[in-house]
Point group: C2
Chain length 316, copies 2
């Protein structure tokens, strides 16, 4: 039995608490800024709900472990800044969000001076993790990771036969010192952008094809023994079934939460060509209507040298 | 029991004959230009080996089906040209190679005038298909596809539960008239280029990372519940285990067999932006040392305007 505090009970944090409580004897003390969420998660999972970070710290036996699962950036840093002074030497903070790996290094050094441990965990699996398990990429000092292991064990999926040798029984892995977990997760997301864009371009072609093709059927078929079979392709089949082959009800506006641009930033720092990951981020920029000035400038220049006709903008 | 002739008993054709003979009562008459290959495949699989196309046609009962599994382009066309005059009205030729979909249209029309049926089958799964089953994308007239179905059924993998509704019990699908099968397979390969390049860029970053990362371990982990889990990622884990994390024994020279460039060609014809598939093909060009003149010209221009130092080429 291991004891852990959880801060942030949204889609990810709430499901993680549910998986821990469902599949283990671990004691979870759960906090969220929204009191109703705390009550719901406590009722549904059997975690002990608390009303403040101070309350959370008080309910945990030292040395404590507190898993923060709130959005990366300011929300995570604010939580760390509020939590750290409440903790004692030997306690450990776990950041399960998508923090930038360079921030982990600074944060780990700051907390170390206060006698606190810090573990960065990159978590993949989205809302499906509750059932499938979460794929976790871990960075931080060995002793802290060892303490956290019983919690990672229950959150992770059981490993496939082929991967057991490399990973042990459970699907999480420790990749190195502070930042290594979020670094591997950052690149994971960069790769994810490229995979998504590759599928999207292929199905865009099917949508414009000479043939009357059935996208859902193609996505389903590709998962039957083809080289491109993947979980994303399974999600594509699901999306075409739910939304229709034209995805007509969806806007194409595609956001990003930073990992792609950080991947490209590090690729530039290391002189590594990443044309596909970069083009995938740019495709997302285009999807938001960015690049509009570029397009107007192209039209303007084409008109200048060739007298090619331009179109007036709707609002111009 | 269905009867089929197989022409071309290489890695793909030979394994397909083996799967048919292992998992069904179908009668297979097998031919390859190499007599030793015919003998080996016949001995190993129980297929009836023959020494010529004429012999093959003679051994099959009309209406015949002959599956051609030789490289796309001239080898396939030559085989069709040699085979067609030996066949009778109502016989069917199946092209299981990677022919271009526009060639299928021409070929189907030509054969139709001779009273022959034609089915194009895009086959994915590589050397793993013998065990897993082959993912098959099928084009051609309904009656011919129906006749071929018992053979497709045994070659295909059993479908996953989630895809059964869209596909039926077996993992193959008929997408439309002649060319539709190879069209879907062509784009499949274009997507495959993009997926491969996305993973390759990510692992290139790991190779240059500040952390001492274990590529095999990352690839294994990513297959445990992460968003980027896929069969290609399983192959990546396998490659790093066999070749080492540095892939030091491999040359980076990466060929292509046409489907990527045809995908891009059709994307241009349809005005569909495909930056990732295009960049992936260009990355393969670079991998062969192409682009060298570009690079020398960049160096020359940079020297011209900025007086930046150039390097002499080794052979210059």
């Amino acid at each position: 039995m291991t004891q852990i505090g959880f801060v942030g009970l949204g889609r990810m944090g709430g499901n993680m608490v549910a998986r821990i409580k469902r599949d283990s004897e671990h004691d979870v003390v759960a906090y969220d800024r929204d009191a109703a969420t705390v009550k719901r998660v406590a009722d549904e999972t059997g975690a002990r709900g608390v009303r403040s970070l101070a309350d959370l710290v008080e309910k945990l036996d030292a040395p404590r472990m507190v898993w923060i699962m709130v959005p990366a950036g300011k929300p995570t840093q604010d939580t760390v800044d509020e939590l750290a002074p409440l903790l004692e030497q030997g306690d450990i903070i776990v950041d399960g969000g998508n923090s930038k790996w360079t921030e982990d290094r600074v944060r780990a050094a700051t907390l170390r001076k206060q006698g606190l441990g810090y573990v960065d965990v990159g978590v993949s699996g989205g809302v499906w993790g509750l059932e499938v398990g979460y794929c976790m990429m871990v960075g931080g000092p060995e002793p802290a990771v060892k303490k956290l292991a019983p919690v990672l064990d229950v959150l992770a999926p059981p490993t496939s036969e082929a991967s057991r040798g490399a990973l042990g029984d459970r699907g999480w892995a420790h990749f190195g010192p502070s930042g290594a977990g979020h670094y591997v997760k950052m690149v994971h997301n960069g790769v994810e952008y490229g995979l998504m864009q590759a599928y999207a371009e292929g199905f865009d072609l099917f949508d414009k094809s000479d043939f009357d093709l059935d996208n859902a059927k193609i996505a389903h078929l590709w998962n039957q023994g083809s080289v491109v079979r993947s979980w994303l392709c399974e999600l594509a089949a699901r999306a075409f079934e739910l939304e229709g082959d034209k995805l007509a009800g969806l806007s194409g506006y595609t956001g990003d939460s930073g990992e792609g641009r950080w991947t490209i930033e590090d690729a530039i720092a290391k002189d590594v060509p990443t044309p596909v990951i970069t083009a995938s981020l740019h495709a997302r920029f285009y999807s938001r209507g960015n690049g509009d000035f570029t397009h107007r400038m192209l039209a303007a220049l084409r008109a200048q040298f060739g007298g090619h006709a331009t179109k007036k903008s709707a609002d111009g």
